[in-house]
């Protein structure tokens, strides 16, 4: 079988799979190379599933707003798999006056970007979610936010891309990219050499060393993300939840289980290597969750897991072509909030790789923003 394709994508996470699907749909031949044995083994299948606009950096906001308007509502039909998308709003909760002030600041900046988000008091918050504790003083409320199942969405993109003829190779770790006649063209793995007219690097934190092989550096570090899931219980509410204190985030899934992400504060100091849950995170999460939702005290935790975020120096991704390296397209540094924007990013990456005009302006997410 030929090792050549129009586009070679490094990384079979949701970004790589979404890009592969969009390219294949437009008639490109695509090869996707994944270092791990499993599809989407990084942040793609380990995140909290948020599809939210509120709380986003203004540079990223147009991407998520586009996705929520144009892609997410019909994604299940498009991919032939129910990705469990809910658009039931996002409540970002506050328990102190300082929290409310933080939320007001976030809300003001989102409103100035054209987002439908507003502050609500305790009564209105409780009307939306009757399970909230009396400790909650207020919230920001974005009715068009939501969540989806990140495992299913990632694998649905993979499945559809594969059906359209995209060739995926797992266990195929990329060592470097070689330039031929001044253009990025060859991708060298531990076992093989692949060639493409265009190369998309979407390998999470591993993108850094791969990009270094052609002299490009994106300043980012791996930061641990920790998540837990409960047993299935009867449907209670389907809003996406977050807090001003950032002590937890999450939602109830179609399955009936609650998926909650947690910040223990120790993430930057996590043990390197394969991501492992810390011994304290689930306990910290439970304390936080119960103070907002006392009704969940008897719900059982069945599983905890962790993953690496590719945390970029300015907390938004690089989605960019590279002037010094023609043929190269970079998509990394998603900083823990890449899932919601991944359908839009896949579309934009297909446009960058095909040298067509991008649907959205990507100037603010270019790689040279760190060269000042």
């Amino acid at each position: 079988m030929s090792n050549y394709a129009d586009v070679v994508i490094i990384g079979a996470g949701i970004i790589g799979c979404s890009a592969a699907y969009n390219l294949a749909k437009k008639g490109c031949s695509v090869i996707v190379l994944e270092a791990n044995d499993n599809i989407g083994n990084g942040g793609s299948t380990r995140n909290g599933g948020g599809v939210r606009q509120s709380g986003r950096d203004p540079r990223e906001l147009p991407l998520i707003m586009y996705g929520i308007k144009n892609i997410w509502p019909t994604l299940s039909e498009e991919l032939g798999v129910n990705v469990e998308y809910y658009q039931e709003g996002n409540l970002r909760l506050g328990k102190t006056d300082a929290h409310i002030k933080t939320l007001q600041g976030l809300t003001n900046s989102a409103v100035s970007c054209g987002l439908d988000v507003r502050m609500i008091g305790q009564d209105e918050a409780k009307a939306i979610n009757p399970f909230l504790s009396n400790e909650v003083l207020g919230a920001s409320w974005c009715p068009t936010d939501g969540h989806a199942n990140p495992l299913l969405t990632t694998l649905a993109y993979y499945r559809k891309a594969r059906q359209l003829g995209v060739r995926f190779f797992t266990g195929e770790k990329v060592i470097k990219i070689n330039k031929i006649k001044g253009k990025a063209r060859q991708v060298v793995t531990e076992n093989n050499v692949y060639e493409g007219d265009k190369i998309i690097v979407a390998a999470g934190f591993a993108s850094r060393s791969i990009l270094n092989s052609v002299g490009i550096d994106v300043p980012m570090v791996p930061v641990l993300l920790e998540t837990l899931v409960t047993e299935a219980v009867e449907p209670m509410f389907y809003q996406m939840l977050g807090t001003a204190a950032a002590d937890f985030y999450g939602h109830q899934s179609t399955h009936g289980s609650f998926v909650f992400g947690v910040n223990s504060g120790m993430e930057p100091y996590a043990k390197p290597g394969s991501p492992v849950s810390s011994s304290s995170a689930a306990s910290i999460a439970c304390r936080g969750i119960m103070s907002y939702f006392p009704a969940l005290a008897d719900v059982k935790i069945v599983r905890t897991w962790a993953g690496w975020m590719d945390s970029c120096a300015d907390h938004v991704p690089v989605i960019s072509t590279v002037e010094e390296v023609p043929g190269l397209v970079v998509a990394c540094g998603f900083s823990g909030h890449g899932f919601g924007i991944s359908p839009t990013v896949g579309l934009l990456l297909s446009e960058l790789a095909m040298d067509t005009k991008t649907t959205l302006d990507l100037k603010a997410l270019r790689y040279e923003r760190f060269c000042r």
């Binding site: 079988m1 044995d37 499993n38 599809i39 989407g40 083994n41 299948t45 495992l151 299913l152 990632t154 694998l155 993979y158 499945r159 594969r162 060739r167 995926f168 190779f169 797992t170 266990g171 195929e172 076992n191 093989n192 899931v229 409960t230 047993e231 299935a232 399955h255 849950s277 689930a282 306990s283 439970c286 304390r287 969750i289 119960m290 969940l296 005290a297 008897d298 719900v299 059982k300 935790i301 069945v302 599983r303 905890t304 897991w305």
Partner: protein, 111 residues
């Protein structure tokens, strides 16, 4: 090991026992597991993420070996070639109110 996810494993052929429940916590059938392999889910971790096998209350303690056998037969490989999916804490389901106990506070109570 490089795994070509487009290699030919033959067509999905329906079988009389496809309705048999394999993962009883999540009620996943043999036919769903076999069909997922033909959808490209070539590892036990892919299968688990796609179908929820082994993600219920028993965490795969009942079905993990059965799923492994079905997937290996469908792929035409030895079960020994399939990596098991990762076991995750806690080993038994634990109520949030118990998980939330602070060890330092518990110790202080007994001092």
């Amino acid at each position: 090991m490089v795994n070509d996810r487009s290699r030919d494993i033959g067509e999905f052929v329906p079988a009389p026992d496809d309705d048999m429940i394999i993962c009883r916590c999540e009620e996943i059938t043999k036919g769903e597991i076999r069909s997922a392999v033909h959808d490209g889910m070539y590892t036990l971790t892919d299968i688990r993420r796609f179908l929820r096998t082994g993600m219920g209350l028993c965490q795969g303690q009942t079905c993990a070996k059965l799923v492994k056998g079905i997937v290996s037969r469908e792929l035409g490989v030895s079960p020994a070639d399939l990596e098991p999916a990762t076991a995750r804490a806690p080993m038994r389901p634990i109520e949030m109110k118990v998980m939330a106990n602070d060890l330092n506070e518990e110790v202080a109570k007994h001092e």
